[in-house]
């Protein structure tokens, strides 16, 4: 067992792989092309699932941030979960935008449309990219955690406002709404779509577990870095350092 892997991740990883393979087989081979959209409908097995995973990631980040800010539940665990779920969320957000864009290009000949959902997703993408940038700053881990948690909660609070704004904006330019309507879905198409949601759920969980554990390791690495630097300073100053392996100075890393 190496790095962030263990039995849990192996199981999740294997399950994800199977689910993806099943979805691919169902979506690309078994299910029929659509009456109106033709082959393009096969993108429905890639796009909505990613969008759901993206919202799950951002939602989880916001909730974890709230848990971190709430004094009674404050723990670095929530901070790490927020960081991990934000990053995984951004990944699936990118997938949503890219697949949506490709689908749009195929359906209407344009790479982008100011459709309410796409616009909202693009905004969320920008907001969380900013969040990830904020995570890379700051020296003191606890300050940084608090700062980022506040930013995440603020982003979450704005989502309804952004949603209203983009929806009103889209209704001004009525054209796009008609084209966005999903094909009536049943039979093999429905099964394939459900399979895609399962696959995305498994992928999301698998990636989240790995990313969370990487965050644990990053924190430990940072703390050890401080500890090592402290030992070096002490050694320079003539204070005798204990022989052997450097003890883990500071609070134990909670998992």
């Amino acid at each position: 067992m190496n790095g962030t892997a263990d039995r849990v991740t192996r199981v999740l990883g294997a399950a994800s792989l199977v689910a993806v393979a099943v979805t691919a087989w169902l979506g690309l081979v078994v299910s029929p092309p659509d009456v109106t959209q033709g082959q393009l409908v096969r993108l429905i097995y890639v796009h909505p699932g990613a969008a759901t995973a993206c919202y799950a990631g951002f939602g989880l980040c916001a909730l974890a941030s709230l848990a971190y800010l709430w004094p009674r539940t404050r723990s670095r665990r929530w901070d790490r979960l927020a960081a991990a779920s934000a990053e995984v969320g951004v990944l699936f957000c990118a997938i949503t935008l890219v697949s949506g864009s490709i689908w749009g290009r195929g359906s209407w000949g344009v790479w982008w449309t100011w459709d309410a959902r796409l616009t909202l997703t693009a905004l969320l993408f920008a907001v969380f990219v900013g969040y990830l940038a904020l995570r890379r700053t700051g020296g003191d881990p606890d300050s940084r955690a608090r700062r980022c948690a506040i930013a995440a909660v603020m982003a979450a609070v704005l989502v309804p406002v952004d949603h209203e704004a983009t929806t009103w904006w889209q209704t001004l330019h009525q054209g796009n709404t008609l084209l966005r309507s999903n094909p009536s879905i049943h039979g093999w198409q429905l099964v394939s779509m459900l399979a895609s949601f399962v696959a995305y759920a498994l992928l999301f969980s698998w990636l989240l577990v790995h990313r969370y554990r990487v965050e644990v390791l990053e924190d430990r690495f940072e703390e050890d870095g401080f500890a090592a630097a402290l030992m070096e300073r002490r050694a320079e100053g003539g204070v005798i350092a204990p022989a052997g392996v450097a003890p883990r100075v500071g609070a134990e890393v909670e998992l």
Binding site: G3, L40, L43, L91
Partner: protein, 43 residues
């Protein structure tokens, strides 16, 4: 299957695979670095 479908599926697969690989590899690098005495896991 047409070009757009392949593009959509392919881009998705690429993003997921690249991200997974980078994350898992980072985990291995960090685990190795923070425990020189042999243990290589995240715990």
């Amino acid at each position: 299957m047409n070009g757009y479908v392949a593009g959509g599926w392919g881009a998705t697969a690429a993003l997921v695979i690249v991200y997974a690989w980078r994350t898992i590899r980072r985990g291995k690098v960090l685990a190795r670095r923070s425990a020189p005495n042999g243990e290589k896991t995240w715990r």
